[in-house]
Symmetry: C2
Subunit: 148 residues, 2 copies
DNA sequence: CCGAATTCATTTGTATGCAAATAATTGTCC
DNA sequence: GGACAATTATTTGCATACAAATGAATTCGG
């Protein structure tokens, strides 16, 4: 059962269909994930959570280095750290060994928030992948990681 | 070769690793796609291209309906349409049949830009999926579509 | 037919994301 | 040791995203 190429207004045909493009699909799946995440974490965005989780996993880090760990550029990680700091979840101190750097660390409240969040974040992942079997989930993650 | 559960600072262990979470991976893959897209389309963002492509595929549409087709909410599609209109790629007219609606359509320049873009957009998809075999690409799209 | 619910478009506010420019500091290399 | 390159953090500007509120128009149910 072969699929027919789309018929364009000018009569020519093409195989391009927006709904089948990886970029468009990625955006829609990301949107659904964002919705699920927001319902589970009313007071935290996904990048904010990623920052907390990475600080918990890896300990204090310079701001730019932290940004690289969570895939946020220098301008974006600054905003995220500022907002986490304003809420008392992180603290920022100058690096004694390098005057250019500021070191970002979790506060006690930040550690508690991270520990509270881990099971919730795991549930967000599970719900996002809810339509897939265990094997399919592994497959999907494997395929996506090849595209990172 | 079993993987060890991550060791947390407090000594307890957990299976949660940010780098393995679907949301985090999706964001990173989307970022890479955005980079590839921007290099191929210096003057168009992916949502702007999606809007052009959908208008070309489906013809004129009310603004909100168009937003649903390209997965942009009412506030976002408005900005996209405004910017496309400012560049002469789309035109906006009131709907005679429904005074609430505005109809968005491609201009001749918009049609030409869409036709010019199709092969480029196909190349962006191909480059994004470059690390995967043909079967893997089909698999990935299939798995992602199950999550939409 | 009429009041209520819905839809449509707009606006405001907040939060990413990214490019580009800048200033301060550190590292490198001859 | 000193010019020069690279790194770090910041700032500005633009473009998504999304929640929430608003006002106008249409649809629906009784």
């Amino acid at each position: 059962m072969a699929t027919q190429p789309r018929q364009k207004p000018d009569g020519t045909s093409s195989d391009y269909a927006l709904d089948d493009q990886i970029g468009f699909i990625l955006r829609k799946v990301s949107q659904r994930h964002t919705t699920i995440f927001a319902a589970a974490f009313p007071d935290l965005t996904a990048p904010q959570w990623a920052t907390l989780a990475k600080l918990y996993e890896g300990g204090p880090s310079s701001q730019n280095q932290l940004g690289r760990l969570v895939a946020l550029d220098a301008a974006t990680i600054k905003g995220v750290v500022d907002r986490l700091g304003a809420r008392g979840l992180t603290v920022t101190t100058p690096d004694p060994a390098d005057a250019r750097r500021v070191v970002v660390a979790l506060t006690e409240a930040g550690r508690k928030e991270a520990e509270r969040g881990f099971p919730i974040a795991a549930a967000v992942t599970a719900e996002t992948l809810g339509a897939l079997s265990a094997e399919e989930r592994v497959q999907l993650v494997q395929l996506l990681k090849a595209l990172e």
